[in-house]
Symmetry: C2
Subunit: 194 residues, 2 copies
């Protein structure tokens, strides 16, 4: 797996650079705002470089989505293996994800662009996995299966909705401090008084 000796001109811009720039554009304005020429300017290069690394715009988007999905599931799986206590999982997951502006922005805009088949497939897989993780945590806390699923969906809706609020109406959005996350967690894990 060592790098085989290169030949020819050294790359000024790599495919990974393009993919990360594409994800930044997605986070900022959705898939529609992924413009080859705009990304080229941002990277200080030209379309000539782009069409060397990728067949077309669609190929870039698919590659960026694959990278996003792979990196995400990797991190999620790596984390789940380390923690067994469900409350601890939620405590880690929620404040962390609610504070991750970029991650939530990507998830939110991809949901909005799900008509695109490749986007729709990727976002469906990632969303299902994330909700399943939350669902499991709530089930492990003692909620019934139905309650666990509903609370997981509600939790993920809060995650997405908070991202939407922060983006479009920051004056009405919660402060990105720990108090908000703590309150949300408390709301979600408190059962009705018997």
């Amino acid at each position: 797996m060592t790098d085989k000796p290169r030949r020819g001109r050294p790359p000024k811009t790599t495919a990974e650079d393009w993919e990360r720039a594409a994800l930044d554009a997605v986070a900022a304005g959705g898939v529609a705002s992924v413009s080859v020429e705009a990304l080229a300017v941002g990277l200080g290069t030209t379309k000539g470089s782009f069409y060397w690394h990728f067949a077309n715009r669609e190929a870039l988007i698919e590659a960026a989505l694959h990278r996003w999905e792979a990196e995400h599931t990797e991190r999620l799986a790596g984390y789940l293996d380390t923690v067994a206590d469900p409350m601890e999982r939620l405590r880690y997951t929620f404040p962390g994800s609610l504070a991750d502006q970029r991650g939530s922005a990507v998830a939110l805009t991809l949901l909005a662009d799900a008509e695109d088949p490749s986007v729709g497939a990727a976002i469906a897989r990632v969303t299902a996995r994330r909700v399943a993780v939350l669902e499991r945590a709530f089930a492990d806390l003692g909620f019934t299966p139905g309650q666990a699923r509903t609370r997981a969906q509600t939790a993920y809706a809060i995650y997405l909705g908070t991202a939407a609020l922060r983006r479009g109406a920051p004056d009405s959005a919660p402060e990105p401090d720990a108090d908000y996350a703590a309150t949300v967690l408390e709301i979600l894990t408190t059962a009705e008084r018997g």
Copy 2:
């Protein structure tokens, strides 16, 4: 206020038709998908009609936003005058709004398009008003001001996030039945056990 007698050719398509079609397009694909020519085809007419009723695309969008904001605040104000009990307000508001796919889709996509100045101004006003209504209800239920505001923001985030889920990943979204709304309401109104 009776219709003053018309002159000339009777309109096949009115400005209101264009505005409603524009809002449908916004709900379906955001402000960027408001295309004059596409709307014309959908309405069975041509651009000639459009540029008679509106100066340009921007004018259509502003008019559609004004209509949306006016109709909404009208309905909201009309409702608030009728009900005094905060729990009753929430009970009416939440199941209703969570089931209103179109209304939540519009609010969600407009938040995503808030960079557009006119969109940003309208969505900021409407969002602030809606959150304020919820905040007041929670305050009237006995929550502290801070808790009331946080829960109001959380409630609105659930509203938006649920819309995002339903749009982009319906398999992971809650069923649009009354149970979901009831559970959400219960979660939001249940305080921590003393």
